[in-house]
């Protein structure tokens, strides 16, 4: 694509210098300008009735306290279902649930007053995990408390099993995962006050992913018009999904305190509070029953996906949908039945986390493929290669994969880059012939995975996102969207896309901070949709803007519009070359700023039936293969990851360094989830609610990484780009477990692969 001047280059990210000099202002760095501070009184119980709330011991005259009775009739976080209270009313359903809010001129005074709030509870027996949830929940009269279901039926599963030569069954489990963004949650709410100090609206600045989600939640909470609420993103220190849903809650809290006190109120969570209160990755239990031919060909898959949703519905139906849609893996199978269910427990609501259900179901199917390979005595690469999707194959929803299918390509590349099969076989032999028990065991493991870009099914059609560009009076082209950069590099890649769409230099393009008073609703920054979907809108908006300027330039120079090109910042006609700024200056002087906007346009002839789960689930898919190499100490069962090779196809790469950064960072999160990160719980309380006890990978845990980007373009993204954000979370854990199995012969079906778990399982090793 020789017309691309910016896309494909690793340009300096626009926020780079501010971040390396410490000048970037995160929420807690913003000038406080006399704002008050808020704190939250939380439930110590997993399940309890609230008998009384007594604030009479609070003596500080300035302090304002808000409880459920002050919230008003719309006491819920307006997300999918309105079941998640902003403040607990009458009962609590998890430890850490917010019950009362306190604000004061200083944080110390707010904290002191919060300690003086006396809440009396009547504890009830809680439901704390999937085993208990399956037995039944008192909240639903002793029946399992089902928050969401989602089923897929493809082909004839019974006939498929009847034709199978071998049947393999397995059950796989994953636990909570904490996002552990380095900047905890924070928000400042500034009230708009009328002449009599009445509350007219609120201005929110926060560390968040989805400004329009917060906007929607607050217009609902206060039953106010859209223009009464303004939401802006501050520089955000990581999100990974953790700042998708929860900012609705903390912004609501700060806004309620701002209303109560008539002051701006800041709430910043300390790390421990952040871990206790905010969402986690859904724990999962996935059962597989697979019918195969002796050569490894899949003929039937029967899959049960069970997720622990926590106390409220929040985003669980959508997480389940993505889990189910990815549950059969990147493999063609003519007969598939998938049943998905989310059950409630008395734990903090589980929510969005990079991958959004897919890492859980892909972990299960990848381990199941390993079990199939072991059962048949073939290598784990061979069983994958045999069944990997090819162009023209049908997915479990009946979607025909028509373009940009790279399952075989990523496997081939992973194989040749690592000499996988040969080394896998060598390690197996070494393990079986091992005599010296003190020797370190070496293993290599591989996974194959896919990830749908953008919202599932009709999500994009329903959202009808908008993106805009504007030629400003200062002759800069400004990008206007609600997509947030919380580290990924969104601002940089949007500049690149718009520069090339318009045909101008990167220096002519700036990105406006996401602010609901200024930018159109481009949807939330989730679901690997930013580059492919919103980037696509911005490309079209940029092309419209350039078109208007070319028309203007043609008119100015008296040539036909078709005779004008705008390329790399220069208008070219048969009469000569004119710099972009010159034409832009004339345009703005005559007509003022020029706006162009694009709205999402669904792919023609693409349908998805949400009732039957048939049709095109995603416009495009990213594809990945991971190869993980490990050394396991046979005495301590401590695993050291020595090398990671990733092969990813995310279509046209907009910025190679940042794209690789997404892959590497996401894969390390996946590996951490696979062997280090374990949220331990007792009586509904997280035991390791600090970074000292919840371990995430450090540099010492991190292997050298080889990051290979294949570029198989899609017609559905700008310049052929697909989504990259979540794909890297999908394959690390199963590849790691296969590598540990290759080293030790221990086949774990549950993560994390801690030394304790490996030791327990060593008594039942395969082979």
């Amino acid at each position: 694509m020789d017309h691309l001047n910016a896309v494909g280059l690793s340009i300096l990210r626009p926020d780079g210098l501010a971040k390396v000099t410490g000048r970037a202002l995160y929420l807690d760095d913003l000038p406080e300008r006399g704002c008050w501070h808020g704190t939250t009184v939380r439930s110590p119980h997993a399940s309890a009735l609230i008998t009384s709330i007594d604030v009479s011991a609070v003596t500080d005259p300035d302090v304002k306290i808000v409880t459920a009775k002050d919230v008003g009739p719309r006491n819920s976080v307006h997300l999918i279902h309105d079941d998640w209270p902003v403040l607990a009313d009458g009962r609590v359903n998890h430890v850490g649930e917010p019950v009362a809010l306190v604000t004061a001129p200083t944080l110390a005074r707010a904290v002191t007053a919060a300690r003086e709030v006396k809440i009396v509870y009547e504890a009830q027996p809680p439901v704390l995990d999937l085993d208990q949830a399956l037995k039944g929940d008192p909240r639903t009269g002793g029946r399992p408390n089902v928050l969401a279901t989602c089923d897929i039926n493809h082909g004839n599963v019974d006939a498929g099993f009847a034709a199978a030569e071998v049947i393999v069954e397995g059950e796989y489990e994953t636990g909570h995962q904490e996002h552990a963004y380095i900047e905890p949650h924070g928000v400042i709410a500034t009230p708009t006050l009328g002449a009599g100090s009445e509350f007219l609206g609120v201005d929110i600045v926060g560390s968040l992913q989805c400004p329009y989600y917060v906007h929607k939640a607050l217009t609902y909470l206060f039953d106010m018009s859209a223009d009464a609420i303004r939401v802006r993103q501050s520089v955000t220190g990581g999100g990974f999904g953790g700042k998708e849903d929860y900012p609705d809650m903390i912004a609501a809290h700060a806004a309620l305190l701002a209303r109560a006190s008539s002051h701006a109120v800041k709430i910043v969570y300390e790390r421990q509070e952040d871990i206790i209160a905010t969402t986690k990755r859904h724990p999962s239990r996935v059962r597989h029953r697979t019918g195969i031919k002796r050569d490894g060909t899949l003929v039937a898959m029967d899959i049960d996906v069970l997720l622990d949703g926590g106390a409220y519905i929040t985003l669980s139906p959508v997480v389940l949908s993505r889990a189910v849609l990815h549950a059969a893996g990147a493999y063609a199978c003519p007969n598939v039945r998938i049943r998905g269910k989310v059950l409630a427990t008395n734990t903090a609501p589980n929510g969005a986390f990079r991958g959004f259900g897919a890492p859980q179901s892909l972990f299960a199917v990848e381990r199941q493929m390993d079990k199939i390979a072991w059962t048949l005595g073939i290598d784990p690469l061979a069983v994958r290669m045999r069944n990997a999707y090819r162009e023209g194959d049908a997915t479990p929803t009946g979607q025909i994969l028509k373009e940009s299918v790279s399952a075989v390509a990523v496997l081939e590349k992973a194989k040749t880059s690592t000499r996988f099969s040969e080394r896998h076989a060598t390690n197996s032999l070494a393990r079986e012939s091992r005599e010296d028990s003190g020797r370190v065991l070496r293993g290599i493991g591989l996974s194959l995975f896919w990830h749908g870009s953008g919202f599932t099914g009709n999500g994009e059609r329903r959202m009808m996102s908008r993106g805009a560009v504007r030629l400003r009076a200062d002759l800069k082209i400004e990008v206007l969207s609600s997509s947030t950069d919380f580290g990924q590099g969104t601002e940089g890649v949007f500049r690149q896309i718009v520069a090339d769409a318009c045909g101008v230099s990167l220096h002519d393009v700036v990105v406006h901070v996401p602010d609901t008073a200024v930018v159109p609703d481009s949807g939330p920054t989730v679901a690997s949709r930013t580059v492919m979907v919103v980037g696509g809108l911005l490309r079209r908006a940029g092309e419209k803007l350039a078109e208007s300027l070319r028309m203007f330039a043609a008119h100015q120079s008296g040539v036909a519009p078709a005779g004008v090109l705008l390329h790399n910042g220069v208008f070219e006609t048969e009469l000569g070359r004119t710099p972009f700024a010159e034409i832009a200056r004339k345009y703005v002087a005559l007509h003022g700023p020029l706006d162009a906007e694009a709205t999402f346009e669904p792919t023609p002839n693409s349908t998805f039936d949400e009732a039957t789960y048939r049709g095109d689930a995603y416009a495009a898919y990213g594809w990945g293969a991971n190869v993980v190499e490990v050394e396991v100490n046979p005495d301590t069962f401590v695993t050291r990851i020595t090398k990671l090779t990733t092969v990813s196809d995310v279509g046209q790469v907009v910025h190679p360094v940042m794209c690789a950064g997404q892959v590497e960072g996401g894969t390390l999160q996946a590996l951490g989830w696979g062997y280090l990160e374990e949220m331990k719980m007792k009586d509904g309380r997280y035991l390791n609610d600090r970074l000292q006890t919840y371990l995430i990978p450090t540099m010492a845990d991190t292997p050298d990484m080889e990051t290979i980007l294949l570029e198989n373009p899609t017609a559905h993204g700008p310049f052929g780009a697909k989504g990259v954000g979540e794909l890297p979370m999908d394959g690390g854990a199963p590849a790691l477990l296969q590598a540990i199995e290759n080293a030790t012969g221990i086949a774990l079906s549950r993560i994390p692969a801690t030394p304790e778990r490996l030791f327990e399982a060593s008594k039942m090793r395969r082979s």
Partner: protein, 170 residues
């Protein structure tokens, strides 16, 4: 309870009054307005608040104010003169060493300290020295690479599309 303490901060003599056990991090952020040092955990685990105390990387959330009397402290704001960046900072920006940026000030100061000890560090030396500073975004690979570019062990991958302030060198 307040006592006066004198120390050198980013090359300038500074005097601060506060309780002896006040956290240096709060003194820097709240009293002196230097918000480049971040609080990620408040217990010395994440390293986002790292500053140099007499050229040693320390977590400023664990340093009581009385301990800095007479010491020399460098924060991220003191790495380079206003409007300039060091080569170390520049490679972090151009080579993907910074994503969300919340760990970045602490990470850069930790690595500055590392480079004093190991001017051309191997990955094993980096792993040992830098493991106290957590990054959740990058997977560390681009941090390794940025240091390798800086120390001439690797060719750059990033392209600077805007002039990067020159001049300040380590």
């Amino acid at each position: 309870m307040s006592t006066s303490y004198k120390f050198t901060l980013n090359g300038e003599e500074t005097e601060v009054s506060g309780p002896p056990m006040a956290r240096l991090l709060d003194v820097l952020r709240r009293d002196l307005g230097l918000t480049g040092s971040k609080e990620g955990c408040g217990e010395g685990e994440c390293g986002a608040c790292t500053v140099l105390l007499n050229n040693e990387a320390v977590c400023s959330c664990l340093v009581p104010l009385f301990q800095v009397e007479g010491a020399s402290i460098t924060t991220i704001e003191g790495m380079a003169p206003q409007g300039q960046v060091t080569d170390l900072q520049r490679v972090f920006a151009t080579e993907g060493g910074a994503q969300c940026g919340a760990c970045t000030p602490g990470m850069i100061l930790t690595i500055r300290s590392l480079l004093k000890r190991y001017p051309r560090p191997t990955r094993e030396q980096m792993r040992e020295y830098v493991s106290g500073t957590l990054c959740r975004c990058t997977g560390y690979e681009r941090i390794f690479r940025a240091v390798e570019v800086l120390t001439g062990q690797r060719t750059p991958e990033g392209v600077a599309d805007a002039p990067v302030a020159e001049g300040a060198r380590e």
